[in-house]
């Protein structure tokens, strides 16, 4: 499973009825708030074993599945 699919699955576990595509702004859906945004931060850090640096704590990085996937790519330590 790739990063996008794993992020999508996490969001769907919380919001089973959400119809999501990778470019959709999840905050614009109306039921995602800053509380869930912080859960996304924790999920991304734990699941992908990265630490999001302070300069990347930008709501734009969590608005879409694509943006989160790109964030993971930027923060990942090369093997």
């Amino acid at each position: 499973m790739n990063e996008r699919a794993e992020i999508r699955m996490f969001i769907r576990e919380r919001f089973p009825n959400a119809e999501l595509d990778d470019q959709q702004n999840i905050f614009a859906l109306g039921y995602v708030n800053s509380l869930f945004a912080m859960e996304l931060v924790l999920f991304i850090e734990k699941h992908f074993r990265i630490e999001i640096p302070n300069e990347e704590l930008d709501i734009a990085n969590f608005c879409t599945i694509d943006a989160m996937s790109e964030l993971v790519g930027r923060c990942a330590v090369p093997a």
């Binding site: 576990e13 919380r14 919001f15 089973p16 039921y31 708030n33 800053s34 509380l35 945004a37 912080m38 859960e39 996304l40 931060v41 924790l42 999920f43 850090e45 734990k46 302070n54 300069e55 990347e56 704590l57 930008d58 709501i59 734009a60 969590f62």
Partner: protein, 397 residues
Amino acid sequence: MTSSRAHPESVADARAAPESARTGFRSFVDQVVAPYAGEFDRREEMPRSVLREAAARGYWGAALPASVGGAGMDMMTLGELHEEIGRGCSSLRNFFTVHTMTSATVHRWGSQEARDRLLEGMAAGELLGAFCLTEPEAGSDAAAGTATATRSGNCYRINGTKRWITAGEMADVMLVFANAERGRSAFIVEAAGPGVERIPIRGMLGCRASMLAEVRFEDCRVPASALLGREGAGGMIATSALDLGRYSVAAGCVGLIQACLEACVDYTSHRRQGGAMIKDHQLVRRMISEMVADLRAARLLCRHAGELKDSGDPATITATWIAKYRASVSAMRCATDAVQLHGANGCSDDFAVGRYFRDAKIMEIIEGSSEIQQLLISDSAYHDNDPFTRELVGGPR
């Protein structure tokens, strides 16, 4: 019973030898805090000597790593520390709550410059933190805050008023939320600088020694490096800090329940009415049994939230809401019963349970009112696939 003794400047000689963390916390509270908490409450003041004694034991840096001089405690241990402090004095625990929220946020989301300048002092307790979110017209709806942060070259100018700020009267480092060009943002403000005015708030119902203040920012200039995260990330940072604050308050409520139970067991074991100890009355036993059950349930909920925090599990946010909600409601119920069991004595200043009662009411309001928590917790029943919730609502949907 409260004590009229003056607080000692130092109890260093009375410190115990190395011991388990919980035992050390308990010793600190029993020697330095609990006997004098009634006096702190009456004076509406937290003595510097208590803060220094906590500093000598490394408690202000409990949640910070050793690399900045902190104790590097895990969240389970931090919960035990705040529970024990809450057993002795909710006002002091409030100091620890906002200091922990602020210092952990600087550590996690601050610029390197801010971390280098502030964290060692915060870990040592030389710099006290305060959390400046609430405004006169923006409480539960914190997003409605009207404070502004205007970029001006390499600085921001902050304007606005924050209210009900715990430790606001004496804090050195303030975590301030204000609206910048890209949305609500979080800034670190060093309170000694120009443009910061504090007006002490007195006469609160409870937690009277929390040294609340209204803090006014008027063209308060902070460097761009004072911004935490990016502009617009204030909501996420507030959520993160409040999650830690709720965990601290929840743990403090467990301590408050413990204090109610201990006071009531002692009182009902010595108080005679109608030729019998009042502990032998069945209705008294009912109240004691409810306290025991509430204590265990609240403590387990806190531990569950702490375990999830230590493992970095995002489920900790909902778990912490639930822990704080249940622990604060239980603390209010137990404190109400504690006053009832003490009768007229419980309504006097001679017994601590009256203070517990007043402090417990505050716990149902701060860091998210019970009603806001109920809304969010019930949301989880409809939307969450958390296994605990799913089990309760009857299997997967």
